[in-house]
Amino acid sequence: MTYKENAEKFIETYGLSIGDKIQVNKEDITYTGILLDRPEDADDGYLVLKLSSGYNIGVAIENTAAELIEKGEKPKIGFGKSEIPADPKKQNISIVSTGGTVSSVIDYRTGAVHPAFTASDLVKANPELLDYANYNVKALYNILSEDMKPEYWVKAAREIANDISNGSDGVVIAHGTDTMHYTAAALSFMLKTPVPIILTGAQRSSDRPSSDANINLIDSVVAAKSDIAEVCVCMHGSLNDKYTYLHKGTKVRKMHTSRRDTFRSINAQPIAKIENKKININPDYAYTKRGVNGLELNANIEEKVGFIKSFPGISSDYIEYHIDNGYKGLVVEGTGLGHVPNDLIDSFKRARDENIPVIMTSQCLYGRVNMNVYSTGRNIIDSGVISGVDMTPETTYVKLCWALGQSDSYNEVKEIMHEDIAGEFSEKSSIKDFLN
């Protein structure tokens, strides 16, 4: 219960609990309704009542008395356990839930939204999924996307590897959208996979009829059954509920705070378009086919990696802080082609001397880093800074965590950073790859 102090005392005094039908008497008005929980961030001093019309109202407890009319049941959350039937003719798809908008559920009686929605609830809320595959479902953790940490990438990679070695023909991961592209990149580096691994989510929560969750989930299952044995993100391709795009896990980024088509391939085209449950693969795309790679898990990572954005007026303290505090590597989001103010270059030299790799990316997001054009860039290269080429800053950050998990030698890390591990680079900048 999230009632605090005065309200909590009030409820205790009258022997009430959440879900009870109560009557609240004020000086000139009486309300009857079900006592509901109060949102955690709302302040003290009010009760929440659901009237018989279905409306909620807040009632100030000052000069108010209450009485119990009828004890209520504790609201039950979740769909209850039941077996999901298996059909030997269908492929086996694993669904792993990690929390986020895609996996939330509403308690209609109290009106509270619970993120405690499991992967099996997901199948039950979207029963048409059963037409397409058999499912092995599990809730790995239930966290908001912003609370994601590198250690969770490791846990997810291990779980997925486990599922694949147990015969899973494809994996769908339900994930919060805010940091989905980080997790997608992390899984791309940690896993060589013989089957598709598809991350998906929702921009509009699944407790609303207009949620994009249903189409994203179904299309993810279509992708997970496909021939594309890569880590991908599957999300709405436009504002319409019409098709989704499959983006390469290392080339994708969340580009809008709220639109359904927020995920975009950066410096790349989507691998495929999925419409009416049919997958159309981009013919220009050389993807890894199902079964070509054996399963390999390499989940060693270094978590102590810094991530800095350059800006007019940035001081070298930002770099010095990371060196002084034991960071093992640093990703810089430079301006334009990959620049920072000249004042920072001495700190980069210090990092190089202390064996701390610094990778330069661009806050333009689109285009590639090229530090040869201006003298500042050349000075930055001379200070030992490594180019992030055309990777997004986020993919670069994740890759550096992974590279530092493989080696602590500056030279080896530099080599790994410039080796194409999971399709994170493209040699060519295509005229089509901007704002698409």
């Binding site: 008005i29 279905g54 109202i57 807040g58 407790d207 609303r208 009829p209 705070t257 709220s258």
Partner: protein, 621 residues
Amino acid sequence: MDYEKLGLKMGLEIHQQLNSEHKLFCPCKTELVDDDFDGIVQRKLRPTQSELGEIDRAALQESLRGLNFKYENFAKHTCLVENDDEPPHSLNEEALDICITIACLMNMHIVDEFHTMRKQVIDGSNTGGFQRTGMVATDGYLETPYGKVVIESLGLEEDAARRIETKDGFTEFRLDRLGIPLAEVTTDPSMHHPDQVREVAYMLGQILRSTNVKRGLGTIRQDLNISIAEGARVEIKGVQDLDLMAEIVNREIQRQLVLIDIKKELVARNAEVLDEIHDLDELFKDTESKILKSAETIKAVVLKGYDGLIGREVQPGRRFGSEIASYAKKRGVSGIFHSDELPAYGITQEEVDNVTDYLNIGEDDAFIIVAHDEDIAISALEEVKRRASLGLDGVVEETRKALEDGNTEYMRPLPTANRMYLETDIPLFKITADRIEPISNNLPELPDVKQARIIKEYNLSEDLATQLVKRQEADMFEAIIADVSIDATPVASLLAYDLREIKREGHDITALGLDHFKEIFTLLAEGKIAKDSVRKLAIETIKAPESDVAEIAEINNLTMLSEDDVVKIISEIVAKNEGMVKERQMGAMGPLMGMCMKQLKGKADGGMVNKTVRSEIQKLI
């Protein structure tokens, strides 16, 4: 009809658009748009499942129709919020304050804290699949000539998107109306006479109009809740014309009475709807009926004991069969054929006999045929079976749509309370005494009070006062009169009548502000223009609102002539007609007066012209 004996109970629900500058949860304007739209998004809606396993009846019903939606959007007039591509912004406090005003006028208790709820509506009229709504106040009352009526609740909610058309499996909406704030006023179901409902609806409308609300077609919508003792509660949506209210009530009573009668007859006959759906394709393979020929499949169900009852009239021109058909139509068919109306529609008596034989039905039994694609036909017949079975219960609780002739048509089941849950994207909003007091201390005068007062205070005719109040020009009238010492009637008459005509002639009357009116009537009060020139001057002022009104009068030749000039002009006219004066003597007064007025109209006072003409004639005789 003896309404008391029937146990007639009625309540009203009134939706009134508020005239706030912005929408309820986004910064878009609260105006409808008739420009070409800039884009369309395609969406599907899906009922959400509560963990208690209860899907709301009404929501489920709509979802089964499997409709897809298109939304017309505008780069300038709508935003991502209406598109359901951005979370709602904060509650519009201007709209809330208008509701607080309404609550005070209706003696209501305002809630301590406003909670925005989501009310599931998946007919596509809301892009999110729910309407945002909240309770502002409860437990008020209104004194009426029929006694006290309890105002149960006042809600503040978003208006829905405008339905444009349905075709090719898509229903298309325009997003301009979505999100305009609406006040929803609900009375308790304590009204017992159609005249009373009409009066209360009128009074509520008058109260709403004394606050800052939208005016004009479609800005106020009345719904009627109605039941009789043996019947069931029915909600009739969209009663536009108050004068039609009594007719709608009477026809609904008639419908409920007939349905109760049909129920009794069905029970007596031990009637039953058979489950099986029969395939009649073979039977009709050589049919001449165009409708049947063009359908992919023809299917039928048997209603045992329903013969003759499906054709019973429930409302003028509507049969029990129409009730069943309206359920089937929700599944995409355009209609049904029932045995009480056959042979017809190109279906012959022989074919009817064949069906009767094939289905092996008795004299008391009926059948219903649907012709369409396989899926739709089956789904429609499932609805036919469901509605026909409900005939055994008598009247069904449902939401119906008011038709123009006073009849009603089925829309959807009544919504239940479990389609409401908290809108988690909007913080709870406290309504403190600090907010309410300045509003409750400055309430607008109610229309009837205002009307009575201005009649007395300014000595206006009742008609003029009524029009001023009705057209919301009373405040302008009083502001003008306060500053210009002039007879009230010409001022009232310009505002009450002429303005409307000027508008009809295509002039933008909103260009006229208080200062313009004050200048116009000052000119009149000072005798610089004639009464007859006021209307013309108002029009010319609209054309040049930035210019000085006295100059406009001058340029347009509307100013009065000096007395000397008038005498000069008249004496010239009289001199020219000296022959006639000599001949007719004072009898020349009429024709001469006409000639003078023709030249001096609007430039001299009529009385003065009369006096001058008379004296000029007298000079000659």
